[in-house]
Amino acid sequence: MPEQPHDDGAIAATGMGGAMDLAMSEAETLEKRPGGDGGGPADKPRSLWSDAWQDLRRNPVFLIAALVILFLVVISIWPSAIASGNPLKCDLANAQKGSSPGHPFGYDGQGCDVYTRTVYGARTSVTVGVCATLGVAILGSVLGGLAGFFGGVWDSVLSRITDVFFAIPVVLGGLVLLSVVTSSTVWPVIGFMVLLGWPQISRIARGSVITAKQNDYVQAARALGASNSRMLLRHITPNAVAPVIVVATIALGTYIALEATLSYLGVGLKPPTVSWGIDISAASPFIRNAPHALLWPSGALAVTVLAFIMLGDAVRDALDPKLR
């Protein structure tokens, strides 16, 4: 038998994109496999996702970023777990005071506890970041993916629309659009980010769907009677989703920074919502007297944004080794 199965790692497959049916292939991959499979080393068949995971869990950048993000998510869900105070209970008598027992970060200009507000601010940032990213990713990849798959007139129209959106400066757009909003919830800000953010993902999704569509196995699936929806969902999406995931992860960090920017400019979130941007804005006039009130929310913001960008980088390395 001149043909020997060769198990030269999953290198060939990892370059080709991501897999959507993560749960299923993971579960199958991790199942025990009977050995002696016709000569090859007793190696588990590794799907793209399990391969990426093997890569990630040995990557210190990913581990640090993931820990920071995990911590952020936990404190956004249960801020009271580590901060017993009320972020809205402020006493002007304490204004600009430094750190004291029970109030490690001191007080801001309004006499609010900086520690409590920084902890509670995580919730806003994570909510805005996650919701905006989800919205952008879903809207962008559906529109971009369909345009890339079907092509033709819709593709041209969508491409021109994305060009229009790319031409809008984000901060200027925010100043114009959000200044008319009176709601103090996070939703107008999220809506604005989705509105301006989807073209970015849509372009990437379109491009990667066009690339995946040209693969021989999509043609092969078509030649064997697969329908459009089947080709799109089963053969194209799993192989086109990786770049979208990567860009969306990195974008999550920038949405958090954007929320802070908009809040700083006074058009983002509004009190009584607790947000790092608002706190940075409020603390900046007192930078000489009470630098701690500026330092802590800024630091938290910087660490959070950095963590998401690092995560995105690590995920990109794992999903697309060609880029390394």
Binding site: M1, P2, E3, Q4, P5, H6, D7, A10, A12, A13, M16, G17, G18, A19, S25, E28, R33, P34, G36, D37, G38, G39, G40, D43, P45, R46, S47, L48, N215, D216, Y217, Q219, A220, A221, R222, A223, L224, G225, A226, S227, R230, R234, H235, P238, N239
Partner: protein
């Protein structure tokens, strides 16, 4: 007749102009018969096959004329949804490069099983059992274990076997194999070809074998159609062609095969380049490269006319077929 392609014309409309990829192809295959379609790159052999399968990219491709009769029905009149049901179930295709023709993120079992879940509405579990059966049928060792493996874990020959298994899954009446062995090692080529021929006999399928490899053709084909610039220039029972070609192009092809008895001599090559499909020369498309070309070849298109044959129908699109035949004998 299982499949009859009649006077098929396919164009590609591009920014630079219209490329006439297929210009009046006529061929037919019967159940249990193997037709080898021979030609160099750009001769239109794959485009014809894609038109038959209904997987031509339109736009830019467009079928401008012709009929594709499959079991008596003209496929070109079918709606896309009806054609989709024909694909896979009644006619299937095997591609050149099995690694790129298999989805890298799905295990081979899932991809084989898909044929049954999509077309037959089987449960995933039954489909997997069927997948193992298919893999055994194409003689993949330890099929039950390997069904969960991914395409990259198989060797080239094994992958092509899996492609064959996928194409044969629903026991179609017609298989189109587009250079099925080109990407394989020479030793593996023969095995894969034998397997394909054997399964074809077993299932009594029609097989269209697209290739540029004359060596592969001789063993398995019943008849040959030679294509040049989107046209069939010679069609004949397989033995006739090897005995004596009736078209100078076929003759050139046969003479450019390396042969042991010509060791040391320079290998023959057909002079010139294949024509630009956007600007096919008038008259016979082969005339600029043809050693026998006369004035008439530069003005008139030679019809694909019947020529003398020992067994079966033989046609050549050359005004000087008799001279070509005689030159070979002499």
């Amino acid at each position: 007749m299982l499949l009859e392609v009649r006077d098929l014309h396919v164009e590609f409309r591009t920014r630079d102009g219209v490329a006439k990829a297929v210009n009046g192809v006529t061929y037919s295959v019967d159940a249990g018969e193997t037709l080898a379609v021979l030609g160099e790159s750009g001769s239109g052999k794959s485009v014809t096959a894609q038109a038959v399968m209904g997987i031509l990219d339109t736009p830019p491709g467009k079928i401008t004329a012709g009929e594709i009769l499959f079991q008596g029905q003209d496929l070109l009149t079918f709606k896309e949804e009806e054609r989709r049901k024909v694909r896979g179930a009644q006619m299937a295709m095997i591609f050149q490069d099995a690694l790129s023709s298999l989805n890298p993120v799905l295990s081979v079992g899932e991809q084989l099983g898909e044929m049954f879940t999509v077309h037959r509405g089987m449960s995933r579990k039954d489909a997997r059992t069927k997948a193992v059966e298919l893999m055994e049928r194409v003689r993949i060792p330890a099929a039950a274990q390997r069904v969960r493996d991914y395409p990259h874990q198989f060797s080239g020959g094994m992958r092509q076997r899996i492609m064959i298994a996928m194409a044969l899954a629903l026991e179609p009446d017609l298989i189109i194999a587009d250079e099925p062995t080109t990407a394989l090692d020479v030793t593996v080529q023969a095995q894969v070809m034998d397997l394909l021929a054997e399964l074809q006999r077993e299932l009594n399928m029609g097989l269209i074998l697209i290739t540029h490899d004359l060596g592969v053709v001789a063993d398995v084909a019943d008849k040959i159609a030679v294509m040049y610039a989107g046209r069939i220039i010679e069609s004949a029972p397989v033995h006739d062609i090897y005995k004596a070609p009736a078209h100078p192009y076929t003759k050139g092809l046969l003479e450019s095969i390396p042969r042991l008895d010509q060791k040391g001599r320079e290998l023959y090559a057909i002079k010139g380049l294949p024509p630009n499909l956007m600007n096919i020369p008038p008259g016979c498309a082969f005339n600029p490269r043809c050693p026998m070309a006369q004035d008439i070849c530069r003005t008139d298109v030679p019809p694909l006319a019947e020529v003398d044959s020992a067994d079966g129908v033989r046609r050549s699109a050359c005004f000087f077929w008799r001279e070509t035949l005689d030159a070979h004998h002499g």
